[in-house]
């Protein structure tokens, strides 16, 4: 299980690869994410970000290569991995027909928290995310920012070591986006959580990430901290310049019809 080389890392992938028919969505990726970091995963639509997250969260099996998450192999010990991770998908996963509290209680039960733990942690999470007053309202009446905060609350109930966030601020207004950022930084500060986040938002990437990797057609084209990456391209370079340089073009240039449709759907439901 844990080896000396890997136990410093929350996420350690070796030649992780996923093909869909002829298409290689993720191509021999080696990622190293140390414990306690916020790690940004950037790339154009279709670069492979979501596929990487799906493999690391055990939703999709790799075609070849391996990965350890929280010290456990994603193929051999998916159950152990699941216990140690939280996940907020790009989709809106909170159930609108339930109240915020009921959504949280469902997660708590599926993660096997005892009754006492459940009550305490649900109350904590609601407070922390500023949702205590709306806990018993139906989620379909929530604003986009509230839904995202509820999903973060759900993902942290079992105190995961590693949190996976797939475009968590997509479709949020600037204020709601800022609140989500603050909560993420608090989570890292209070619980030492490792966070892997995908985003299209360069300001978000720069504000949050200790390190980031830019993917281009399924491969890692660069890894580094945001300031270093900017400095590497010249004194006036912005994160947009970094992205264009390493991601092989402008944002939103590519992406399949279904990806674009899904992104719009998510933005619509949160907006």
């Amino acid at each position: 299980m844990n080896t000396a080389a890997t136990d410093r890392f929350a996420i350690y992938t070796s030649e992780l690869t996923r093909q869909f028919g002829q298409l290689t969505a993720v191509d021999h990726i080696d990622l190293r994410v140390p414990y306690g970091q916020i790690f940004g995963l950037l790339g154009a639509n279709g670069a492979g970000k979501s596929t990487v997250i799906k493999m690391l969260t055990t939703l999709l099996s790799p075609t070849s290569g391996t990965a350890e998450v929280g010290g456990f192999d994603i193929i051999k010990s998916p159950g152990e991995v699941r216990r140690r991770i939280g996940y907020v998908s790009q989709l809106v996963s909170a159930d609108g027909a339930l109240t915020g509290y009921e959504n949280l209680r469902l997660s708590a039960k599926l993660y096997g928290l005892t009754k006492a733990e459940r009550d305490e942690r649900i109350a904590d999470a609601l407070d922390f995310m500023g949702l205590a007053d709306s806990a018993h309202k139906l989620v379909k009446t929530f604003s986009g920012g509230m839904i995202r905060r509820l999903e973060l609350a759900q993902a942290m109930l079992h105190r995961p070591a590693i949190l996976f966030l797939d475009e968590p601020t997509l479709g949020l207004d600037p204020v709601a986006r800022r609140v989500v950022w603050d909560r993420l930084l608090d989570l890292r500060h209070d619980y030492g959580m490792t966070v892997l986040i995908t985003t299209h938002d360069m300001e978000e990437a720069e504000t949050l990430s200790d390190q980031l990797a830019i993917l281009h057609v399924g491969r890692v084209s660069v890894v580094g901290n945001p300031a270093e990456l900017r400095a590497g391209l010249g004194a006036d370079a912005t994160m947009d310049d970094v992205f264009v340089h390493y991601a092989g073009g402008l944002i939103h240039e590519s992406g399949t019809f279904s990806e674009v449709a899904q992104t719009r759907r998510t933005a619509h439901r949160l907006g």
Partner: protein, 256 residues
């Protein structure tokens, strides 16, 4: 085992909360059985063209119409699962350490409770129409057990279809394509022995036939199970176990 029950119960609880909060579906699903029993059943009873032994035609089709509502309400569980996939609820469930079988079994049990609500509606309609019902507690309990099992079978079957087709549009087409033939290739509204032999063969491998056969004996005064309850329930339990086995393997592919 304790963990399996706890996880399944969590899924059932959520489904029941949603059902109670929005009962329009229960009401709208009651319309079809009313049509079948009050209109179709009464008219066909005048014709006396179908020999149903000592049972009146209306009494004969009452268990068939209950089984039909169980089938129709459970089969659309697949749509709900596809909806949950589009929303991302399925992904959230599958990254949790809950066992896959708990997630699938929980859905089946929730479908069973919906089936029981259908049974209550049909009992009421049949009572108003003076169908002579068996009202001893043991018989009613056995009817409800059959209804739960039947609901579980069709909901799990529907979930399997959903995992294969993955989109609502395709599911709607296939759902229609499966439910009506299953209904007509069963003993719901005519007995097996008046069927042409090719249809009887299909009816004999249709799980709906075994549910109806058991319900006919358990629900109706003077009704009898042709296959015997032991055969009916053994077939249903076996089919359910097999479908559960398949669904547990396919369900995770919804999040890929």
């Amino acid at each position: 085992m304790e963990r399996f029950l706890r996880e399944s119960a969590a899924i059932v609880e959520v489904e029941l909360i949603k059902l109670v909060r929005d009962p329009t579906e229960i009401v709208s699903r009651a319309v079809q059985p009313v049509l079948w029993l009050v209109v179709f059943g009464q008219v066909l009873a005048q014709v006396r063209g179908i020999h149903t032994g000592q049972l009146s035609y209306l009494a004969f089709i009452t268990p068939g119409i209950l089984a039909q509502s169980v089938l129709f309400s459970a089969i659309f569980y697949g749509i709900a699962v596809i909806w949950e996939r589009d929303l991302g609820v399925v992904h959230k469930l599958l990254v949790s350490p809950a066992r896959r079988i708990s997630l699938v079994f929980g859905k089946a049990v929730a479908a069973g409770f919906r089936g029981i609500l259908q049974a209550v509606v049909i009992y009421l309609i049949a009572f108003v129409m003076h169908v002579s019902l068996r009202l001893d507690p043991l018989a009613i309990f056995a009817v409800l057990a059959g209804v739960m099992l039947g609901s579980g079978i069709f909901a799990t079957f529907s979930l399997i279809i959903a995992c294969i087709v993955k989109t609502r549009e395709r599911f709607m087409g296939i759902g229609q394509l499966l439910t009506m033939p299953m209904f007509f290739a069963s003993n719901a509204i005519y007995p097996l022995d008046i069927m042409p032999s090719w249809l009887r063969v299909i009816a004999q491998i249709n799980p709906l036939t075994y549910l109806i056969d058991a319900l006919r004996g358990l629900m109706i005064m003077g009704g009898e199970s042709i296959h015997g309850y032991a055969v009916d329930f053994t077939v249903m339990v076996t089919v359910f176990a097999f479908l559960l086995f398949v669904a547990v393997r396919l369900y995770p592919t919804l999040a890929e």
